[in-house]
């Protein structure tokens, strides 16, 4: 899942750094992820994983790192399993 998240990050978030250099726990906002980048990232994740972020999970905390995104996706997928 992390590999796919990294692919989507590279395509959509337009970070000023190479995603390959980021560790799973690195802070994506410190790496240059913007508010609008977060929105585009969310929409791309929804399409790729065929899910929908509920309102309560639409916040910066769930997009703060690659690991954080994975946890959020797993949480959404398990709720709808």
């Amino acid at each position: 899942m992390k590999t796919k998240i990294r692919e989507i990050l590279t395509k959509t978030a337009k970070l000023p750094v190479d995603v390959a250099t980021l560790r799973d726990d690195d802070d994506l906002f410190n790496a240059g992820l913007t508010s609008f980048g977060t929105v585009e990232l969310m929409m791309a994740l929804e399409e790729a994983f065929d899910l929908e972020f509920p309102d309560k999970m639409m916040n910066r905390r769930n997009f703060a790192s690659i690991s954080g995104i994975e946890q959020a996706l797993q949480s959404i997928l398990s709720e709808h399993a």
Binding site: F36, T38, V39, M42, F53, M58, N59, R60, R61
Partner: protein, 306 residues
């Protein structure tokens, strides 16, 4: 339903009946009476009494801005539903004849309209950022501006406090994060003191902008989580949903990054603003003190008229 029975008289109907607002047939688009304008002018002076000593540079723009600057500002990302763009006829004689036929037939005549270089100003500060950027890096103490403009937002409503064309006064601060957050903290205090002196009930709360669509929920949630926007609320049309009359906004480096504005030290500038909804404050005063300004509480009259 009884067609001839008198309809309930809401606040908007009262404002029109008393002549303070003049109906144009379009929700949210009203003429203003001399008395209404007098109250706006008195409130405008009151703002200057609180903020004038800070030495802000006064700038007044017309209620429209460059379309190129508007596009670059990012407004369309957040609020496409509110934007108002100016279009104009650019066809030949044949197209003109067709336009007139369409108008006469009551069918859509806007096919031949093309966008001009002009967009209606959505917030008083939007034309300012490219001007500041063009001046080069800020001085060490940053910059402070005093603005006022009519602004347009496409949100027709029967609530008189939600106009489509309204005036916004603003102080906008540019500088380091410390400089601009201190400015906002100062105005959070000042704004409350100023509005308390007008004898209206008020509350201050964390708020968010009306970002478009489901993805906009995320922007709104983040804005609230980071406490980037506060509003000073006064009940006008409803006690349950009081109206934002002043807002205190910390944009972080959003406009600094968008426009390439730098501090004296070469960092990306941060910005913050305090906005005053001129018509909303006037409406709050009429709502709470009545339509006869001569009968307003003496303390309030003293503050406004001195």
């Amino acid at each position: 339903m009884c067609q001839n029975c008198p309809q309930p008289q809401g606040f908007l109907a009262e404002l029109i009946d008393t002549g303070l607002l003049i109906d144009t047939g379009v929700d949210g688009l009203y003429g203003r009476s001399g008395l209404f304008e007098e109250v706006i002018a008195r409130f405008d002076d009151l703002i200057t009494r609180y903020g004038g000593q800070d030495g802000a540079e006064i700038v007044r723009f017309p209620p429209a801005m460059s379309r190129k600057h508007f596009e670059k500002s990012g407004y369309l990302k957040s609020f496409p539903q509110l934007a108002g763009t100016v279009h104009s006829f650019a066809g030949d004689e044949r197209a003109h004849a067709q336009l007139l036929h369409n108008v006469a037939d009551g069918v859509d005549w806007t096919d031949g309209q093309v966008s001009t270089e002009v967009v209606l100003t959505p917030a008083a500060c939007y034309p300012l950022y490219p001007v500041v950027a063009k001046r080069g890096p800020l001085k060490a103490d940053g910059a402070l501006f005093d603005l006022q403009s009519y602004c347009f937002r496409h949100e027709p409503s029967k609530d008189p406090a939600r106009m489509q064309l309204f005036r916004m006064r603003e102080y906008v601060r540019f500088g380091t994060p410390d400089q601009v957050t201190e400015f906002r903290a100062t105005w959070l205090e000042r704004g409350q003191a100023m509005m308390k002196s007008l004898g209206v009930p008020l509350d201050v709360d964390v708020a968010n902008d009306p970002f478009f669509g489901r993805a906009g929920r995320m922007l709104a949630n983040n804005q609230r989580d980071q406490r980037l926007k506060f509003e000073l609320l006064i009940p006008i049309e409803s006690k349950e949903k009081p109206t934002a009359c002043l807002s205190f906004n910390y944009h972080q480096d959003h406009f600094g990054t968008t426009w390439g504005i730098q501090t004296a030290a070469g960092e990306t500038a941060h910005t913050a603003c305090v906005g005053f909804g001129m018509e909303r404050v006037a409406l709050a005063l009429f709502r709470h003190h009545g339509y006869d300004v001569e009968a307003w509480p003496k303390a309030v009259r003293d503050v406004l008229w001195g």
